[in-house]
Amino acid sequence: MKKNILIVDDSESIRELVGNSLENAGYHVLKGINGKDGIEVLKSFEDTVSLIITDLFMPEMDGIDLIKEVRKDSTYKFVPILMLTTESQAEKKLEGKKAGATGWMVKPFEEGKLLRIVKKVIG
């Protein structure tokens, strides 16, 4: 069975890019356009999501709040979460880590790196 990965990002091009790479690598991809939407998608797939990849700056609900929200729910307490960050967001990265993120990926990244990191957190 394919593993479900949820991508939450307000930029469509990032969603598509990351989504395509992951789909080609054999994952099933779910998408959310902001933190709030992401959580709705996550819940509608119950406990079948293996990994959440989230942007940090988004309208409605940002990535940090998304992480906090996800960790609050015991269903998703141990789901790996990767943050998409840029180099200049070192503080945000720490904040996200504190909120319960598993790791991060610095934009821009190429496909190989993406898949390596995904593999690192979900095997």
Partner: protein, 689 residues
């Protein structure tokens, strides 16, 4: 897939003709770097898509060609006629085999082998040491001892530590020992906590970095110890492996100490034997393995960037700035016209132009290491000239800065380093007498902090004597005898024009022109400079620089209908006050949060009509290191992305402004320079006090 494959073939055809075209031009002008880059890029793309579409023979073949052009591009080798000839031949051959990449035709296959050999021959002929070194580095195996004790809360961050152990095992051959803490077996064990740790003996061809990378997400919270215990493969050495406990859950992991003891007990000739064997065995299986290794290396190292002339980047930045300005106009118009469709479009344009601006801006950033490297050589030359021996260290070379800033840093940094070498670092004899290390040290480092980049020049020389500066400043009538100056203010005096402490003028520095020019240069790029020093221990000069010169995040404020932009970095707080609070005060001081702070009323300074000022005023508190100043305006409009434009040359020497920006409605706002304002106000305050 069929469809995609034809896309690949079309693309390949395109690339072939592109390469051919460039090659023909290159025959006439073999030094044209843009053509060489073009050829390299095309080959790189071809290699990439070929490997994606399963034509490994094509990909490998192109890889060798690409390597040649990568070196030509890096000026390691010249583009000679034999290389061009071989490339043409290769292209003809590639056109043939790209259709049926398995090369079924035996004549083609033979030709393929011959050409490959020719190209590798060319590579070997022209490469001097670089590649063999890389190949050798890959085949040396090291043995590491790694102990990994995860934080017990590791699961709640979504991390599965077993995956990390697996990742380590993928790096080479290994023995893994699992240690289960008592916490797991006890009755009260919390299944949500991790009570297991691992220790590994790992043999890998990699160095320590890929091992560290495995732990990148957990390094802060978990205990990780990595130690190289041997530079051979210990796990093929029976003298070592026989000592190891069996690899199962029941055996206790050997401690690092025990392992080291076992290693020291291994006779040297056994280790030599393993080392020799390794080389022999590598020679035997060279073909496949080496190639694979080389490929994986070059896939990572092959430069995926392109060269663009800096003029073009400047031009791009300019255009983007114009776009941002135009977009501000659109947003303003949309806002005023309450058209939902237009509003949505304007929002989108705003988002896009911001993204575009960020991308363009990132492109103009370059690593400061290029600049640092230049000083390594200079330091060596100057210190030899002075007969001093100096160690030059750099740190944070990966820090990125606007190209323009880096360009304008070269001179000031050079001056500061010369100063350190000449005045800071003592002569060898003196250092020995003082009990300091014989070699002096100069350290150049760079780091981000907040929205700024800091660059430090640090030496371990004699330091600057604040008392001497004071005396000199008094005798130069820069300050009076009774002035009470903080240490910092005293050090700031060395940046005054005409101030030099050097007793004798040397070739290197000390003509009294310099530090003021250095300061001016730094101020020109909206930076600041400060000095810290301890007598006998050394001096540290710190430059604080903005990340970029062209775009700043600012706060848009208004006095009557005149707009100003204040850089957000410098703003500490904003207050709202009644205007009459200002007029009560003769010393131009205002009480904010129980502190008396000097203020600047823009209304007065810019002679904006003063008939009916509004009752309320806004105060913006600016802070620059330890100095504060309040700026009084009528109202605060909001945050604003300002594209900085230089002011005309008649306004260059004014004391408030670092530039101007065009607002959405086409009007102009001056961008205030907090550093200049503070410096001026403090001086004024000192004079009047």
């Amino acid at each position: 897939m069929e469809n995609l494959h034809s896309v690949y073939l079309e693309e390949a055809e395109d690339l072939f003709s592109k390469i051919e075209e460039s090659l023909l031009l290159l025959e006439k002008s073999p030094d044209d770097s843009s053509l060489i880059a073009e050829v390299f890029r095309s080959m790189h793309t071809l290699k990439g898509s070929s490997s994606m579409y399963g034509s490994n023979k094509v990909a490998d073949f192109v890889h060798n060609l690409e390597t040649i052009y990568d070196r030509v591009r890096g000026h390691e080798i010249d583009l000679t006629q034999p290389i061009i000839d071989a490339t043409f031949k290769s292209l003809d051959h590639l056109k043939k085999i790209v259709q049926s990449p398995d090369i079924p035709d035996p004549i083609d296959a033979k030709y393929h082998e011959k050409l490959t050999a020719d190209i590798i021959g060319l590579l070997d002929e022209y490469s001097s040491g670089a590649t063999p070194a890389r190949r050798e580095a890959g085949s040396i195996k090291n043995t590491y001892h790694i102990s990994f004790s995860p934080n017990k809360n590791i699961f709640s961050n979504g991390t599965n530590p077993l995956l990390l152990v697996d990742e380590l095992r993928d790096l080479g051959s290994s023995r893994v020992y699992t240690n289960i803490n008592k916490g797991l077996i006890s009755k009260n064990a919390d299944p949500k906590e991790c009570h297991t740790s691992w220790s590994l003996i790992l043999v890998t061809e990699e160095d320590e970095n890929p091992i560290k990378d495995v732990f990148i997400f957990v390094e802060e919270t978990s205990k990780i110890l990595i130690e190289k215990i041997a530079d051979v493969d210990l796990l093929i050495l029976p003298e070592f492996t026989s000592k190891l406990p069996p690899n199962d859950l029941n055996s206790k992991a050997p401690t690092l100490k025990e392992i080291k003891k076992w290693i020291s007990a291994i006779p040297q000739d056994a280790i030599d034997r393993v080392a020799d064997q390794l080389i022999v065995s590598d020679d035997l299986e060279d073909g496949e393995k080496d190639e694979k290794l080389q490929r994986s290396h070059s896939q990572e190292e092959a430069i995926t960037s392109i060269r663009v002339s800096s003029d073009k980047l400047d031009e791009l930045m300019n255009q983007v700035s114009e776009l941002v300005t135009t977009q501000a106009g659109l947003s303003l118009y949309a806002e005023n016209n309450f058209d939902p469709v237009l509003n949505a479009i304007a929002d989108n344009v705003e988002k896009l132009s911001r993204q575009l601006r960020d991308i363009a801006f990132e492109m103009t950033l370059i690593q400061i290491s290029n600049l640092f490297r230049r000083f390594n050589r200079v330091t060596r030359d100057i210190s030899t000239q002075l007969g001093k021996s100096v160690k030059f260290l750099t740190e944070g070379g990966e820090t990125e800065l606007d190209k323009k800033i880096i360009d304008s840093l070269a001179d000031p940094l050079m001056h500061l380093i010369r100063n350190s070498l000449d005045h800071g670092i003592e002569s060898r004899e003196e250092r020995i007498k003082l009990g300091k290390p014989e070699k002096g040290t100069i350290k150049l480092s760079s780091y981000y902090s907040g929205a700024k980049v800091y660059i430090q020049i640090e030496d371990d020389g004699r330091g600057i004597d604040a008392q001497k500066i004071r005396e000199k400043a008094i005798s130069n009538r820069l300050i009076s005898k009774d002035d009470d100056l903080s240490e910092r203010e005293i050090y700031d005096l060395i940046f005054m024009p005409g101030f030099s402490l050097a007793k004798s003028v040397t070739d290197i520095s000390g003509r009294g022109v310099g530090m003021d020019v250095v300061k001016k240069n730094i101020l020109d790029i909206r930076g600041d400079i400060s000095v810290e020093s301890k007598i006998g221990e050394g001096t540290k000069i710190i430059l604080g620089l903005p990340l970029t010169l062209s775009v700043i995040d600012g706060l848009l404020v208004k006095v009557e209908s005149t707009s100003f932009v204040v850089p957000l970095v410098d703003i500490k707080k904003c207050f709202e006050i009644k205007r009459e609070e200002l007029s009560n005060d003769f010393n131009e001081l205002i009480t904010l949060e129980d502190n008396k702070i000097p203020y600047l009323d823009l209304r007065k300074e810019f002679l904006i009509k003063d008939e009916n000022p509004p009752e309320k005023a806004s105060i913006i508190l600016l802070e620059n290191e330890e100095n504060k100043i309040a700026v009084c305006v009528d109202s605060i409009v909001g945050e604003y992305q300002a594209v900085l434009k230089p002011v005309g040359k008649y306004y260059r020497n004014q004391e408030f402004v670092s530039g101007a920006t065009i607002l959405g409605d086409g009007s102009i706002a001056l961008v205030l320079d907090a550093y200049k304002i503070i410096a001026r106000k403090i001086v004024k305050q000192k004079k009047s006090a």
